[in-house]
């Protein structure tokens, strides 16, 4: 996947690496591109919450499985840091914390970071769909597996800061299933939360096949910006949808 947008040159992209494995932390730190400042590292839920409150990073690279806290791992970190960040001036009041705490910023919004909550990008060694849905619904803006290269992680960080979502092929595949794509369900309008539009389905199918946003754009003869809009819209639906499949699916795995 390629970098499709980046923060203004004047503003440094800062990040916090949250992972309970120091080897992985230092490895990732060394691999990240030069324009990303790693403010710190954290290994447990408590450390992560504290570091986020103190360092106020723009982005957080968050491991899904973390020791400490109430056992909620990465999702717990997101849940426990929302209140604090939201109190910053200029931020909208927090809605019902359980549904979509964290960051549901409109795509393409001004990427100024002052007073904004950090953007979470989930990293996991696991490919299990449970993990994916848990962090996404907690508010992460994207999900990558840990074998993703440092350059790709850097690019993904830039993208989430710009307001886009980062979908791995796996996540796209999950979305297709969760929204009943195989049954041929399509949303009639963009407003519908429980179904995806035809375009969104097409975008998801291509992402599931490993297409980068740019490649999706050229395949569907639309602009990259439009692809990003579709992806963000899908992310929003994934986070907010009360679609019965999603709920039942999550319930069956005791995620909610």
């Amino acid at each position: 996947m390629s970098t499709t947008s980046s923060t203004p040159a004047a503003e440094r992209l800062t990040t916090l690496i949250v992972d309970d494995h120091s080897i992985f932390r230092s490895g990732l730190r060394a691999e990240l591109s030069a324009d990303i400042d790693v403010l710190g590292e954290a290994g447990t839920v408590e450390e992560a919450v504290e570091a986020i409150r103190e360092l106020r990073p723009v982005t957080v690279l968050l491991d899904v499985h973390l020791p400490g806290g109430r056992g909620g791992g990465g999702a717990e970190v997101i849940a426990r840091t929302t209140g604090v960040e939201r109190s910053a001036p200029g931020a909208p009041p927090a809605p019902g914390a359980s549904v979509a705490p964290g960051v549901t910023v409109a795509p393409g919004a001004d990427p100024t970071t002052a007073g904004r909550p950090p953007v979470f990008l989930a990293l996991s060694v696991s490919d299990a769909a449970d993990d994916v849905v848990r962090v996404i619904r907690a508010g992460a803006r994207g999900y990558l597996t840990k074998s993703t290269s440092g350059a790709e992680v850097s690019a993904a960080l830039h993208r989430v800061v710009a307001g886009d979502a980062v979908f791995s092929p796996l996540l796209a595949g999950f979305v297709l299933d969760a929204f009943g794509a195989a049954g041929g369900e399509e949303a009639a309008s963009d407003e519908e939360l429980d179904r995806l539009t035809r375009r969104e389905l097409e975008v998801m199918r291509l992402i599931a096949q490993g297409y980068a946003y740019k490649e999706v754009a050229s395949e569907l003869f639309i602009s990259i910006k439009t692809v990003e809009t579709h992806v963000s819209s899908v992310l929003r639906k994934l986070q907010l949808s009360s679609r019965h499949e999603l709920t039942a699916w999550a319930l069956s795995r005791r995620l909610l």
Partner: protein
């Protein structure tokens, strides 16, 4: 010494002949002679029968009925009633031999009892004065102890037909021991207080000796069980640790290594293996039977990755397909191989199964592919993919891949109506709980 499975009576003579290298006929003749002169041959036969294992396992021996006649069976039957009884007991013992396994104590005790009885018989026939007052109780004690141990063993390994019946049998065997011990004293001259006291102490001691090994074994079993549970916990912790540390490291190696490089490939292969071991899923071993489409695709991807320096991402969505159509799989495999040979790098495999259609897409970022420019001799694509899909009633399209550079093979196969219903029947919850997608989920 092992008794052969093909035998006349019980294979003792054959086993002995095999063991000693003597001719079988000579051994048999010897046994007959010994039996004729006082019954020692029959006793020895029975003892060996009880104590030597049968060739192979405890599977029922293949009997050769026709060879039975030419045997010392009649001699064995001619032995005394006491021997007959002991023989029956010995047969019981032999039936549970496999269970006793390492400790043939029961057989040895029964054998000793038989030897004592036989020896006494021979001696008495030769005219010697046999202290029957000593021999009869001793035989009783030995047989009782042997039986008690066997029953206790069966009780311990849970093979008993019914616990209460088993306990009754143990009690009976113990009673035999007690009777034997008491007989020592009853047959004595006039009993006095000391005799009674010693008799009581002997009975207690005897029963204690009989029960002690069982109790010791029980305690050891308990300890072993506890150790096994501890090992299980340890294994789980070990697995968790491996999952956390080694998988992370393997992920890191893949992250740092050049995509498609040998290091990355090795790390990925190891990660797969470790995952399949940790989660004990069927990702290659014992997977001869038909699996569902998703597992089959992942297995094919793994095989391809082992042979070529490529990385294959598999994403499967849609309805579960319990029995993957072999033709579709073969075409997919061919497409993967093609991509691995001609493109390399990362290959994406995506499958989507709806009620009426199976679709598998294999895309790569290689140099691309023009069907028209391929000679007819290249059967790979034309025959194995396009032709095969057409014969199945589906279709195969070859398009430019992501970004218009690579190749994208789209395989489509309509699903049979009845098959679709069969698949949905066992999983009525498919509507509400769609199968989660898996990407290399092991």
């Amino acid at each position: 010494m092992i008794r052969p499975r093909q035998h006349a009576v019980a294979g003792v003579c054959a086993g002995l002949a095999e063991h000693t290298g003597l001719p079988l006929a000579a051994v048999r003749a010897g046994a007959c002679v010994l039996t004729a002169t006082g019954g020692a041959g029959a006793l020895l036969y029975v003892w060996l029968w009880a104590t030597t294992p049968l060739a192979g396992t405890d599977a029922p021996a293949l009997r050769a009925p026709l060879t039975r006649a030419a045997s010392p069976a009649t001699d064995a039957n001619a032995a005394g009633a006491e021997d007959e009884q002991a023989r029956d007991q010995a047969r019981d013992g032999s039936s549970s031999r496999s269970a006793l396994g390492r400790a043939p104590v029961t057989e040895i005790l029964l054998g000793l009892a038989l030897l004592l009885a036989g020896g006494a018989m021979v001696a008495s026939r030769m005219g010697a004065q046999i202290p029957l007052a000593f021999f009869v109780p001793a035989v009783f004690v030995l047989i009782g102890a042997g039986l008690a141990w066997r029953q206790l063993h069966e009780l311990r390994i849970g093979r008993a037909s019914g616990p209460s019946a088993q306990i009754a049998r143990v009690a009976g065997a113990l009673a035999l021991v007690v009777l034997g011990i008491l007989l020592f004293f009853v047959s004595d001259a006039e009993p006095n207080v000391w005799t009674v006291f010693v008799a009581a102490a002997s009975v207690l001691l005897g029963v204690g000796v009989v029960l002690a090994p069982w109790a010791v074994r029980l305690v050891r079993d308990l300890a072993e069980e506890r150790a096994a549970r501890a090992r299980e916990v340890e294994r789980a912790e070990f697995a968790a640790h491996l999952h956390d540390s080694v998988l992370q490291t393997l992920a890191l190696i893949q992250q740092k290594a050049e995509p498609g490089s040998e290091a990355s490939r090795l790390a990925r292969g190891q990660e797969r293996e470790l995952r399949s071991w940790l989660f004990a899923e069927t990702t290659g071993n014992g997977a001869d039977g038909p699996l569902d489409l998703a597992s089959e695709l992942r297995r094919a991807a793994m095989q391809c990755e082992q042979e070529h320096a490529v990385r294959i991402d598999v994403v499967t969505t849609g309805r579960a397909v319990p029995e993957a159509p072999e033709g579709l799989l073969a075409a997919t495999r061919e497409a993967m191989l093609n991509a691995a040979r001609h493109a390399g790098g990362t290959i994406s495999v995506f499958s989507e199964a709806s009620d009426g259609m199976l679709e598998v897409t294999v895309s790569d970022r290689g140099p691309g592919f023009d069907l028209a420019s391929i000679g007819p001799e290249r059967l790979g694509v034309r025959e194995s993919i396009i032709g095969r899909m057409r014969r199945l009633g589906g279709s195969a399209r070859i398009q430019p891949g992501p970004g218009g550079t690579g190749t994208r093979v789209v395989l489509r196969l309509p699903r049979a109506r009845d098959a679709g219903e069969n698949e949905r029947a066992p999983a009525p919850s498919a509507e509400t709980t769609p199968a989660p997608p898996h990407q290399e989920h092991r």
